[in-house]
């Protein structure tokens, strides 16, 4: 046995160091988890390649398949990380008492939420790099105004905030298994009606307007108008996402139970 000095020397590490450590641990867990990788990287990249290389869906002229698919898959990637993957991971952390245990460490709840946000953004950056590389190889040519440098990150950040709020509201109230089922169901449904691979213009007008008001529809439509149609600032979609972000975070703050 090694002799260890247990003489008390308590003290919290600096907050940025705690957040970095927690976020690195969470990112590592996500990247080691097969189902999570399937959801966040493999499915989006497969859809991107499959639907742009083969005429599986007709988009109705004027736009190449890869130019249509790339913004949609970006929106899907944001949803898969910030919503589905985060909801499932947090739901199980809650169920296994991990959130409870972390509550007894010097890492504050605010610090933990910040770490989770940093994890989501790190995974999204990885997704963005891979999606852009694959899209460029397939032949993606963005038709964007210079303002896209600002509006694309802004749309993605607002979408991330909205999806994260919804994920935490779900994971913080439902049982872990229910969260798993519901998060996957929402993923599949919004994959279908979120303007990701099927153009929302194919739906009847009433349905189309409704789907564009959902976070996935607003994000995919917004990204597509910036990256494919050269719109500088899609006001409607941005406002929609902003409202979702505020409402979802407020909801999560109210209903989230740590234990």
């Amino acid at each position: 046995m090694t002799a260890i000095a247990f003489e008390p020397a308590p003290g919290a590490a600096p907050l940025p160091r705690m957040i970095a450590a927690q976020s690195a641990a969470e990112t590592r867990s996500l990247l080691r988890n097969g189902e999570q990788l399937l959801l966040t990287l493999i499915i989006p990249l497969l859809l991107l390649a499959a639907f742009s290389l083969e005429p599986l869906v007709s988009f109705g002229g004027g736009i190449s398949r890869i130019d249509f698919m790339t913004p949609g898959v970006m929106a899907l990637a944001v949803m898969s990380t910030a919503f589905t993957s985060q909801a499932i991971a947090t739901g199980f952390e809650r169920r296994y008492g991990v959130l409870k245990r972390l509550g007894a460490t010097p890492l504050s709840r605010g610090g933990l939420i910040t770490a989770k946000t940093a994890t989501v953004i790190a995974v999204e950056l990885l997704q963005a790099v891979l999606i852009v590389i694959v899209a460029l190889i397939i032949g993606w040519r963005p038709h964007a105004a210079v303002a896209a440098i600002v509006t694309v990150p802004l749309l993605i950040l607002l979408g991330t905030a909205a999806f994260s709020g919804l994920a935490l509201a779900m994971a913080g109230t439902l049982r872990a298994e229910a969260t798993l089922a519901a998060a996957n169901l929402v993923y599949i449904v919004l994959l279908g009606v979120g303007g990701v691979i099927f153009p929302l213009t194919k739906f009847p007008d009433g349905a189309r307007h409704f789907f564009e008001l959902l976070p996935t529809g607003a994000l995919s439509t917004g990204l597509r108008s910036v990256l494919a149609d050269g719109v500088a600032f899609p006001v409607g979609n941005t406002v929609t996402l902003l409202v979702w972000a505020i409402a979802a975070i407020a909801l999560a703050a109210r209903v989230f139970k740590w234990e």
């Binding site: 046995m1 090694t2 260890i4 000095a5 247990f6 003489e7 008390p8 020397a9 308590p10 003290g11 919290a12 590490a13 160091r17 705690m18 450590a21 927690q22 641990a25 590592r28 867990s29 080691r32 988890n33 952390e93 296994y96 008492g97 991990v98 409870k100 245990r101 509550g103 007894a104 460490t105 010097p106 890492l107 504050s108 234990e259």
Partner: protein, 306 residues
Amino acid sequence: MSTPAVEISGLVKRYGPATAVDELTLTAARGEVTAILGPNGAGKTTTIEICEGYRRPDQGTVRVLGMKPGCTELRPRVGVMLQSGGIPPAVPAADFLTLLSRFHAHPIDPKALLDLVGLTSVARTPYKRLSGGQQQRLSLAAAVIGRPELVFLDEPTAGMDPQARHATWELISALRGAGVSVILTTHFMDEAERLSDHVAIIDHGRMVAEGTPAELTGSAGQLRFRAATGLDIESLLAALPLSSLAKESPAGHYVVEVPDGAIDPMLLAAVTAWCAEQGVLANSLRIESRTLEDVFLELTGKELRA
């Protein structure tokens, strides 16, 4: 060092119609090991989780190192071992300990600590594939990695094999030696008796008795021996001091007690003299002190582990 480690006063906690903790008052001194002993469902975990800041009292006050349980200032100073769980199942033992070490300013080296609790060989094993005892030891290591002043251990040795239990006892003694205050719950008598400076026995959320193990077990004891069955108890009693009691139970096993008094050398001499006179060879003669288990049985009339 003037404020106690934990000060509980008139604590009441109810879950619906059930009262889990009922007017509990308890003070745990700094630098001591305090054991909260009681059967399952006695309110041990509820009490300790209120001290950890996880639950709020319905009545009464709880102060930990003089502060409100669970407050930000307190968290680096207090180590917590939950009764179960709290560790992500897929994360290797070493990674979890390293993560927690990064939350602290002067942590113990995770490698050395893993070695101390005997988990070096399973450092890369995910938590869910550790045995129950190994999971407990990892959880214990996590409670002390930040060099806390005070640790709460909720049934630290539950599910451990004898070696692991002894290693855990040694670690707790080392903590005490370093001046760390320890509050632990247990339903093992020997654990409380062996480790603690102060024992609080609780049942149905109420304090049944408290004191040092010696105070609780008192000086009263028993003298036991084996001999042929059917010895004359009346004649034995006549040879002993007036207040003595003697009985044969079971056959061939004899017990001599002095209520409210110690078994002293005179009594031992009187018993052996009587045996010599009777031509009886006493076998396995021994003097036993009361155990906490006897105290508990006496106070509650039931088995502690029931």
